[in-house]
Amino acid sequence: MMGLIDVLERIAPRLEFYPGWARALFSVAFVVFVVAVVVFVALYPRAQRAADREGSAGHA
């Protein structure tokens, strides 16, 4: 976690000197990544069960 913060700390000051479209790209990527993580975590139990069902059906 501290490593991530260190990386952000080094990256963040430089971001304002990137072109506008690049900063928009970084922002969209960050938001989509966070949403993806949230979705991944939220749906994880359901996906686990689905994966288990598929595994047991395969064995049967």
Binding site: I11, P13, R14, L15, F17, Y18, P19, A22, L25, F26, V28, A29, F30, V32, F33, V35, A36, V39, F40, L43, Y44, R46, A47, Q48, R49, A50, A51, E54
Partner: protein, 396 residues
């Protein structure tokens, strides 16, 4: 990372299609962002460094050595308190974050405020030496980066240059032009429809009556004949003009008509406390009105001047020295000795001449001497006795 993917990938099959699309989209965007970040890293770093280098430019006070007229500045230290002789500087008048360097000069400030300004006096219009100085850009740089910076060039990116056609009018009294006010334009554009309104105080302390003279458009120089203003004050201008004609005639000094005109002009000037031998200037107040460039509005400049009512006695042409000889060194102490200076000066019949002989000594000393100019085998002309207290500072 690979282990993580290895553990996550088998579970992706259990997520709905939209979630899997979201994951793929997130991965693509993250990869694109990483690529963009790497691609523009150098450029962004350069800009970041540049943001840590500050530059500021202000007008600088000019040193005498850097002045274009350095020799004049060094030779003639500023002794006059006349606003016209004040040095030109530039001031930064910032507005809205935009630097604006404007000239600051005492006369210019008075003139642009509409006056009053005091007219210059001389035998001819003078070059404006005090204002003939360049604007100097004083560049200050601070380097707050971790790198050493070595500036090899300064480039002035000029977006626009345009001539300033505003006239700069300076009322000037030329001593050999009685009752006239000369208006010299030191600006680069004409002053149109120039009118000079002048008031000369009357002898009875009554209110001075203003008279106006139309001069027209002046590009460099114009002249207003204020004889009507002098006449309105009670001066007998025709008598003054007859005297001026008599005084300017060659070899007229001993003629009866000259003496008669001199007596008459003395009588005319006496009520004003003037005399051709002691001074003939009268105080004049007035205003210049003109249009600058293509503007239709009238600009005004109030002035005061001491204008000669007539031709004074003893006014001659300035004659510069025609030669300067080698410095002659006097003894610090001694009696009855001579120093000879070889000359080569020709003075034609009826002509005059002027030349310079510098003298010095090893120490501060007092010298009493005469100057004798030899012009023939046994002919000479001798000056009156001269006492010279010569100052030679002892150097530490």
């Amino acid at each position: 990372m690979l282990d993580l993917l290895d553990r996550l990938l088998p579970k992706l099959g259990g997520y709905p299609m939209w979630a899997r699309s979201l994951f793929v989209g997130a991965i693509v965007l993250v990869l694109a962002s990483a690529g963009t970040y790497a691609l523009y890293f150098n450029e962004a770093s350069g800009k970041q460094d540049a943001a840590h280098i500050s530059i500021d430019v202000t007008p600088s006070v000019l040193t005498e050595k850097a002045a274009t007229n350095a020799s004049e500045v060094l030779r003639q230290p500023q002794l006059s308190k006349d606003p016209f002789d004040a040095h030109l500087d530039y001031a930064d008048v910032r507005s809205g974050g935009h630097a604006h360097f404007v000239p600051q000069q005492d006369y210019l400030a008075s003139a642009r405020a509409g006056g009053p300004v005091k007219a210059l006096t001389g035998l001819e219009p003078l070059p404006w030496g005090a204002a003939n100085r360049p604007a100097v850009l004083d560049v200050k740089v601070a380097n707050n980066t971790q790198r050493t910076l070595f500036f090899t060039e300064a480039i002035l990116d000029v977006r626009r240059s345009a001539p300033d056609r505003r006239p700069v009018l300076v009322p000037t009294v030329l001593l050999d032009r009685p009752r006239r006010l000369t208006v010299v334009n030191y600006g680069w554009g004409p002053a149109r429809d120039l009118r000079v309104t002048a008031r000369v105080p009357a002898t009875d302390n009554g209110e001075a009556r203003a008279t106006t003279v139309r001069v027209g458009t002046i590009d460099h120089k114009g002249e207003a004949d204020l004889s009507r203003a002098f006449a309105a004050a009670g001066l007998d201008v025709p008598t003054l003009k007859r005297w001026e004609a008599a005084a300017s005639a060659p070899d007229s000094f001993a003629t009866p008509s000259y003496r008669a005109e001199l007596a008459r002009v003395r009588a005319v000037l006496a009520p004003f406390g003037l005399d051709p031998e002691r001074g003939v200037e009268l105080p004049v107040e007035g205003e210049l009105q003109y249009r600058a460039g293509n503007r239709t509005a009238l600009a005004a400049l109030r002035f005061t001047a001491a204008i000669p009512a007539t031709q004074p006695l003893g006014l001659g042409d300035y004659q510069p020295p025609t030669a300067r000889y080698e410095t002659t060194r006097l003894s610090v102490s001694g009696t009855s000795y001579q120093r000879r200076v070889p000359l080569a000066q020709r003075v034609r019949p009826g002509q005059t001449d002027r030349f310079e002989i510098p003298v010095s000594a090893a120490e501060s000393s007092e010298h009493v001497f005469r100057v004798r100019l030899v012009y023939g085998p046994k002919e000479d002309v001798v000056s009156e006795p001269i006492t010279l207290d010569l100052l030679v500072p002892r150097q530490p």
